[in-house]
Subunit: 444 residues, 2 copies
Amino acid sequence: MPSPDAPQILLALQLANGYGAQPGAWRMPGTDPSAYTDMDVLVRYAQTAERGKIQLIFLADTPVLDVDLEQQAPHHATDPIVVLTSMARSTERIGLVATSSTTLNEPFTIARQFKALDIASHGRAGWNAVPTSIPAAAANYGITLPSRQDKYERAHEVVQVVQALWGSWEADAWVRDVEGRRFADMSKIRPVNLRGRHVASAGPLAIPPSEQGQPVIFQAGGGDAGLEVAARYATGVYANPFTIDEGRAHRDALRAAAERVGRDPDEVKLFAGFMPTVAASRRAALDRRRILDESVDLDQRVRYLGSMIGLPLTPAQLDEPLSADQLAAARPSPGDPRAPHALDVAQEGWTLRDVLAHGVIDYHPVVPGTAADVADHMQEWFEAGACDGFSLAVDVYADGVDTFVDEVVPLLQQRGLFHTDYEGTTLRDHLGAPAQYGTDPRLS
Amino acid sequence: MPSPDAPQILLALQLANGYGAQPGAWRMPGTDPSAYTDMDVLVRYAQTAERGKIQLIFLADTPVLDVDLEQQAPHHATDPIVVLTSMARSTERIGLVATSSTTLNEPFTIARQFKALDIASHGRAGWNAVPTSIPAAAANYGITLPSRQDKYERAHEVVQVVQALWGSWEADAWVRDVEGRRFADMSKIRPVNLRGRHVASAGPLAIPPSEQGQPVIFQAGGGDAGLEVAARYATGVYANPFTIDEGRAHRDALRAAAERVGRDPDEVKLFAGFMPTVAASRRAALDRRRILDESVDLDQRVRYLGSMIGLPLTPAQLDEPLSADQLAAARPSPGDPRAPHALDVAQEGWTLRDVLAHGVIDYHPVVPGTAADVADHMQEWFEAGACDGFSLAVDVYADGVDTFVDEVVPLLQQRGLFHTDYEGTTLRDHLGAPAQYGTDPRLS
Ligand SMILES: Cc1cc2nc3c(=O)[nH]c(=O)nc-3n(C[C@H](O)[C@H](O)[C@H](O)COP(=O)(O)O)c2cc1C
Ligand SMILES: Cc1cc2nc3c(=O)[nH]c(=O)nc-3n(C[C@H](O)[C@H](O)[C@H](O)COP(=O)(O)O)c2cc1C
């Protein structure tokens, strides 16, 4: 049992399109096929997560329709601000975080909308500041993607202008003195007047401080350039390491980078993407995943698995394991960090259907198993220093969010790995993030 | 009594900063001085308006802090999308309309956010498409204001791209066929691929139709160029005529312009700005206005009145009427449509304090009086063809919205001038606006 003030796991719940992290989620029994547009459904998931004391909801976002809707639901929310505002109105504690592109949006728009969300939620908003890497998203804004260097140069400018706008009111500028006839102290509200190579803004923003001062910055992906953004500005970082070693390397690099810019490395938390499928037994969890796999595009999945391990696999072999000859001929794709694990699972003798049900081709590590299996995995990663918490991609929200909250959360709590109540009322409280107003003085 | 299917008055309730249309509203008894950031308060006003069957809430907006906050509250909401989404979650019928600048925003952002609001509100969203005319707002986006011609050229492009994005899903594209394994019919979801001189977008939007198909377009102000935008795209037009003649001229011009582009003129509704102050008697209404005037900047107001009627007035004369000599010397400012009315009121012998309490320097026509006085004014304007409805700027929301709903609305209903229930569930239903999906085929 860890000591009472040892660090504990932080949890983010990804709630993307309203159905679940698996492409077939929209077709599952219990799922409302209209959940994508039904704020009532989305709000219920947020409430369930809050019941489980999960620190925050995370909506990844790219402003593009980049999926074939014949079989699958869109990847992202109709609009993150609309969805998170809906959640803010019906929850009280849980943090509300979404991506907004530093490549496609003006800093004034980002600053205003996330600060307004921060106000509406009484200090629970966070912004995941990422450049956009999908050309079709840029085309929706009438531009072609800038070079990687320009994108990251702009990302730095956008975050700095946004934070400066957030800081354009001092913490006590909004006096509201009815007797004294003074609405605000204008000497404590200042313009920004920043001009960079890519963006500029005069300011001030017309929004006073929230209960947490200003929203929390998150960052995701992007190699060294992304690490630099994260190290300078972020409180939370989303990553998708596939192994403990990868997670540890990323987290160590992040902490070192934060230290280089003068921050306490404990101020930056790495959230590892993780896809749990919880059921009464491992077999039941695999069966749940099989139904999901079969609900959309199983044939494609077999071929994809084949290319990952260097074998020409076809659906005809779905109910058989790999033969000894196949195992001998297999060559895990060197560029794919998931490939060795896929081959390991295949070597255990599972049928191809079950190999896939292990989630070996998914874009997050997958654990199909009991609540204890899932908690064990999280404990192992956390205690090995592979992450500070997890960004949960629940397979099917309709029942999966409840199951996680009712079965996995109590286990983590019993093990002293997860808090039993929110530490405060704001997202900064939940993350132990220091108060900040405007740009971080250590960075200027 | 008008015949049952005669046109009736349409009502929009302006809910700007949460306090009221008068600068001193934030200091009034009963007003929560934190209403600007308190969604609960704003939501209550929207619910009251809905109780009164008011057709829509309107949030004017310019993304700039253009007021001295020492004495006054900001003019606009923290963020219109956040505020309207909050209202959407706690109301069921009332329309939700806000301004978003065609000069400063990308069409993809506008299309996505208003359509997401339309989805969240089950078909109640509207967008007031106006170019920005305040240089400081442009500076918040790092640009200088384009020429008037470029601004309006861009406005046309932005509205067309937004409507095309809204129409990128056909009405029945979202099949959600669980058994048939078909989420959507991709043959009915098409890219936009529009490129103008100012903006461009590839599309499609990732959002299916709402209950009203797509949001309703509004327009405001802007002379001939604005009229052209309104005539082509708008269902509702906000205007601030100061007299019946002005209103009639604007409405006639608008209807003629709509006809020229092939639309039925009845499809375009003019909302005249109107600022009622309702009390038990005219004297009581004037006293209410006096308290409001005195709560902020009465001295300035006296001097402003003086410049309007060509006299050097000072606060020393506040409790006296204009002398005969002053009345003889007065010269109403020729460029100000409010000036003749101001002089008329002064000639009735009111003290300067009471002249101001008549609202003669306000930016809307003001009626301080009983509910019947207010209803009479509205009836007169409406029956004279000066407008199709009113955009209500209520002096102090804390009690003024309830008073309007409880006292004026029933009078209008008794006179057969205002509906007694919503005609349907969507904003298009409330406005009698024809169904539309994508750009209006008559305009292409
Ligand atoms: C866990 C995780 C979450 C991400 N979330 C988003 C997102 O919400 N929106 C987005 O456009 N990109 C997202 N990305 C992509 C990265 O921001 C980045 O674009 C990608 O890693 C490519 O980086 P590059 O453009 O620097 O090459 C995410 C990446 C990771 C690893
Ligand atoms: C009733 C009314 C409402 C308006 N609402 C807005 C608004 O919400 N935001 C805004 O920036 N301008 C608003 N305007 C200003 C006009 O859109 C326009 O900018 C102004 O009339 C000047 O026009 P011009 O730029 O064509 O000269 C409004 C004007 C009127 C008459």
